[in-house]
Amino acid sequence: MKISVIITLKKDVLDPQGKVIHQALDGMGFDDVNEVRQGKYFEIDTSETNPKKAKDKVEEMCKKLLANLVIENYKIIDAQ
């Protein structure tokens, strides 16, 4: 079973990389962009077949390693 996770920076956390990407886009002529926030995307392939159990495990992975909850939010977007 494959599960996807998206990690994003919390709203109040400065994202200098997102800012620079925004500036670059602006310089390229994409001048209608309001803001860019950079995040991370994970695809986790697990041998767990029960979707609920798999999702719970991935949630535990997010809390323990994949995300730092002081600055990041995680979203489990997919279980298939």
Binding site: V13, L14, P16, Q17, K40, L66, N68, V70, I71
Partner: protein, 227 residues
């Protein structure tokens, strides 16, 4: 006095730290990250470097290394644990000290000497250092200290800020903040002040040929206070 320096894959200041600790009288042992038990130590040091290539988040993988459970237990039982640079990043990932270290505000790798003001001397690390300002070296990509407002209040209420970036006279102002850290924070303690995390490298300033000697005050003081 016995010390232990943990080497992670990608640590690159572990040997400098070994040299510095020995120079000031510590009997130091190097400990591999896959070891389970710490040798008997009065001080454990997590050195600088780029453990696990800074993958995922700086220090995140190293904080889950086998040896870290022993380091956490040692710290929780009152043992002295110090994390320098990447070691500081590892400490925040374990939760032993609050906050996180984000990418530097201007996205540059910063490698230069800075001045830091000693904010608190009611602890073993800085107790008898006569000067209030030290010139130390920083070299990092991710030293931008960040924490939530609630955490900041708690840190300040408990006087957990160890050192702040400042000018040579000790003025803590924005122009002397190299990386965007909240309130120019360069190093913090845990509540009990036995765990210290800081971005500057005292081990790089222990000899006149290494552009400065202010790190010597730090190590001399540390071993004297541990005796």
């Amino acid at each position: 006095m016995k010390s232990a320096v943990i080497t992670f894959p990608g640590s690159n200041c572990d040997r400098d730290m070994d040299v510095a600790l020995k120079k000031f009288g510590f009997k130091n042992k190097m400990v591999w990250h896959q070891d389970v038990e710490l040798p008997k130590s009065d001080l454990v040091v997590l050195p600088g470097g780029f453990s696990y290539g800074d993958y995922l988040r700086c220090g995140s993988m190293a904080s889950k290394s086998k040896i870290m459970q022993s380091v956490i237990n040692f710290a929780n039982s009152g043992g002295m644990v110090m994390g320098i640079c990447n070691g500081f990043q590892i400490l925040v990932e374990t939760g032993l000290v609050p906050g996180v270290l984000l990418r530097n505000k201007y996205l540059e790798f910063i490698c230069k000497n800075v001045f830091v003001k000693i904010n608190d001397k009611s602890n073993i690390y800085f107790k008898d250092i006569s000067s209030n300002v030290l010139e130390l070296h920083i070299a990092h990509n991710d030293g931008n200290y960040f924490c939530t407002n609630d955490q900041l209040k708690e840190i300040e209420d408990n006087a957990q800020v160890a050192i702040n970036y400042c000018d040579p006279e000790g003025k803590i102002e924005e122009p002397f903040n190299p990386n965007g850290s909240i309130k120019n924070i360069a190093g913090i303690f845990n509540k009990e002040k036995n765990v210290l995390g800081m971005m500057p490298h005292p081990e790089r300033m222990i000899d006149p040929s290494l552009s400065g000697e202010d790190g010597s005050y730090f190590f001399k003081n540390l071993i004297n206070n541990l005796k």
